[in-house]
Amino acid sequence: MTACSQYIEKLNTYADGMLSDGERAEVEVHLEGCAACREYLADIIKLRAGLAGADGGAELPEGFKAGVIEALRAEKGRKKRVFIRRFGTAAAAVFVIAAAVYIRPALFDKNEAAPSSAQSIRMANETYSAAATAEAAGENRVVCGKEDMQLPSFIDNPVKGPAAAAAGGADEINGGAEADNDEIVMCGPEDMVLPSVMQAEHADGTAAEAENGAAEKADSDAGPLITREALEDIIYIEPDARFDEEAFAFVLTVRSGAAQDRDAKNWELCTQSEAEAVMRDAASGMEYEYTPMNGEAGEGIVIHV
């Protein structure tokens, strides 16, 4: 027998003891005259009891706690070691941008007021760590930072401004900061040529950067702005990491997890599709294709621009 459709949800709520007095009275009156609903309710009550006992005796697997603690320790150790990816060969520049939330405030606007909620959602997904190169000894290296890294003062000040980068006049290192709210920081070798779209973005970003003071010294430094040694104090640099010569590529960390926690500024809770959306946003106007490294949480997507 089929219960009356308009009572199904109420009967379930009734079985849970969650109906208001008025609704309960109404359901009870109906039940008196409806055998199908009485049967349905009896079944639901039995089902509830069965489900409540269904998990009885389910024990944690052996070594569960030890496994979790071990994983935690590994995670702690991993914190300073972000994925760093080697790219092919050849002759241009590669940007490596890892999703990392705290970088942006640290880098640009320590004193910035709390972002609006819309902004903070964006930040959670879209803020990127710096990608930097050390060009000493003619060897470019790609580095990227991780969530808890503190940026040193030399990054606070001398990140090359957009104007310099766009004009191709940077000295040792070109860097730029921008894309929609200064959320992307990029550094590349001196002969790096920015795609036109990015140049435009950088130009747009100049004013925003000047506002928060990060670009004040953009054009004034002639020496190496970032040294490998200085960077190594704060982030891991893969010994043989270097730039690809061929392509621009973005690498975005993919994490499995919860959309709801985006506003918690927790980049670990960013799904692959969100990450892709972020990249679309960040690289809007550019044509690109992406290659998931292997689709696992913690891996990256390489986006070739």
């Binding site: 949800e9 639901i44 089902l47 489900l51 024990e59 944690l60 569960f64 994983a71 709801q260």
Partner: protein
């Protein structure tokens, strides 16, 4: 250690606090994951992932909801995400197939024995089997409410939906379970014919 203290220490990365968290929530997280995922190994992996996420996100926990609700929400998200990933990778095995999962719910002995212990074990296996036939949202709703015993509000929050949505999911889920179990004939109409059931399973 009360909840606030626990959270404070978690935020500071305190390892004993983390151990306490595993003691307090390990079983809830694991059994929730086990019922949503239907696979013991996957549940263990997911549980570990949940703890790492808690660790990673502890600093962002603002106490707007109860710690347990927040933890359930992370658990649900991790599990559903893992299901989606499985499907994406086409590694997903249908609920009835593949090598399973929960040895405790399995029937070790195929020959019918009429004693009570057997019956309750069989009932449990029957219900857990039926649970796997539901879609992810419905199964999660039943797991949170009827197995884990969360309130409507807590369960809705854990699933990231409105309470009304949760209630209708739960109703649909129970209705579907009722149908599945009725069709199999064992749960609502005893005594059951075990031979039919065994036949279905093979």
């Amino acid at each position: 250690m009360d909840e606030l203290e626990l959270i404070r220490k978690l935020k500071a990365g305190d390892e004993p606090a983390f151990e306490q968290l595993v003691d307090d929530y390990g079983k809830k997280i694991y059994s929730t994951a086990l019922r949503i995922l239907g696979d013991a190994d996957a549940a263990q992996d997911a549980s570990q992932d949940v703890f790492l996420k808690i660790y990673g996100a502890a600093a962002s926990f603002k106490g707007n909801s109860a710690l347990s609700t927040w933890i359930y929400r992370i658990t649900v998200n991790v599990c559903l995400d893992s299901k989606r990933r499985q499907r994406r990778l086409k590694l997903y095995t249908p609920p009835d197939g593949g090598e399973d999962e929960d040895p405790q719910a399995r029937l070790p002995d195929p020959s019918p024995r009429p004693d009570e212990a057997y019956e309750s074990r069989e009932t449990r296996a029957e219900i857990l089997d039926a649970l796997k036939m539901l879609d992810d949202d419905q199964r999660t709703a039943v797991v949170l409410r009827d197995i884990q015993g969360l309130s409507y509000i807590e369960a809705a929050e854990a699933m990231g939906c409105a309470e009304g949505t949760f209630k209708s999911r739960l109703s649909r889920a129970r209705g579907n379970l009722r149908e599945i179990l009725s069709e199999r004939g064992n749960f609502f109409a005893r005594p059951a014919s075990k031979s039919v059931k065994e036949g279905e399973r093979s």
